[in-house]
Amino acid sequence: MITIKLRFTAQLKDQVGLATDTVLVNETDTLQDLLSHLVEKYGNDFGTILFDENENYRHSNLIVINQIQENYEDDITLVDGMEVTLMSPISGG
């Protein structure tokens, strides 16, 4: 198992109730596996921000790994200690 550091912003942070957390995943897990796992961990209200009713990823939620924006579909190798930030979009004025 490897440890992934998580950061959340805005409404995703509100749903998790934490700005940061850590999660253990299998070494062979993909980014997509990680996000599915997080929906199980944090529940439906968190999940409906990330995925639509057909379980398609809502791309307006940004995925940031090591300060770089990644796409949900990208082939990302998870490594021990990696920091993954999930950001729901904000527009407050």
Binding site: T9, A10, Q11, L12, A19, T48, I49, R58, H59, S60, L62, V64, Q67, I68, Q69, N71, T85, M87, S88, P89, I90, S91, G92, G93
Partner: protein, 246 residues
């Protein structure tokens, strides 16, 4: 190009000393037009800083009348103007600071009818609207008309800002290709948070117009004022973007 008057040289004396800005940069500010929409927690402070810096013309688009709940952050709105139009309060306050400022007040929010025209009148757009619909309209028009747009946003103690330069950077629809579902019209806010990101946004606009420094092109600056964590995230254009893609 209008030259600086003696009064303007005296007023901007201290910022004329900023390397790479100088009198030429100040003249560019004087001859520029910036669209700010809306003039809420973000836009009020953006407009105030741009007025202070000597931008020649501001287009202010903001509907509605001043309410009590505006006054914790919308710093161009005042208690004595409760119930009266927000753009009038904004204009009055800005003119107190800078009577030379040319203001085009539009008592409307950005919409499908006015977006093309208002963006067309500006050299730079500062997007400070609370609704994504308005933001996406300004973004679409900015890309279509090849105008730079500074996108400022905040939520609770979080702030974000990026600068969109059509042809060079990701646009707002690259960043958010689908309508955000979780965003609510009412959001938690301190004026000090919206004011912080507004000052950053004003500085981005000043740099773009004067022509110095590095703007936040393809970079999203994020701040969490709860922890004072500041990050720069590299963002990407989407080839399939409906606004700026091929």
């Amino acid at each position: 190009m209008k030259n600086l008057t003696q009064e303007e040289l005296a007023t901007y004396e201290w910022q004329l000393d900023v390397p790479e800005h100088g009198e030429a940069g100040q003249e560019r500010l004087k001859n520029s037009t910036v669209l700010v929409s809306r003039c809420g927690g973000l836009g009020s402070v953006v407009a105030y800083e741009l007025a202070a810096a000597g931008v020649g013309t501001l287009i202010l688009a903001h509907a509605g009348n001043v309410k009590h709940s505006d006054l914790n952050r919308q710093l161009l709105m005042t208690h004595d103007w409760l119930g009266k139009p927000r753009v009038e309060s904004a204009e009055r306050r800005l003119k107190e600071l800078n009577p030379r400022l040319n203001i085009i007040s539009v008592p409307e929010n950005i919409n499908e009818t006015n977006a093309e025209r208002l963006v067309g009148m500006a050299d730079v757009i500062v997007d400070a609207a609370p609704l994504f619909e308005e933001r996406f309209l300004m973004n679409r028009e900015a890309v279509k008309q090849n105008k730079p747009l500074v996108d400022c946003a905040m939520y609770e103690l979080e702030a974000q800002i990026t600068t969109i330069v059509p042809g060079e950077t990701a646009c707002l629809s690259c960043l958010y290709p689908e309508h955000p579902v979780a965003w609510k019209r009412r959001f938690p806010v301190f004026g000090a948070v919206s004011g912080t990101v507004a000052c950053l946004g004003a500085m981005e606009a000043i740099k773009l117009i004067s022509g110095f420094g590095e703007s936040l092109k393809n970079r999203l600056l994020t701040m969490d004022m709860r922890t004072m964590d500041v990050n720069i995230i590299n963002i990407k254009q989407r080839k399939e973007c409906v606004v700026c893609g091929n």
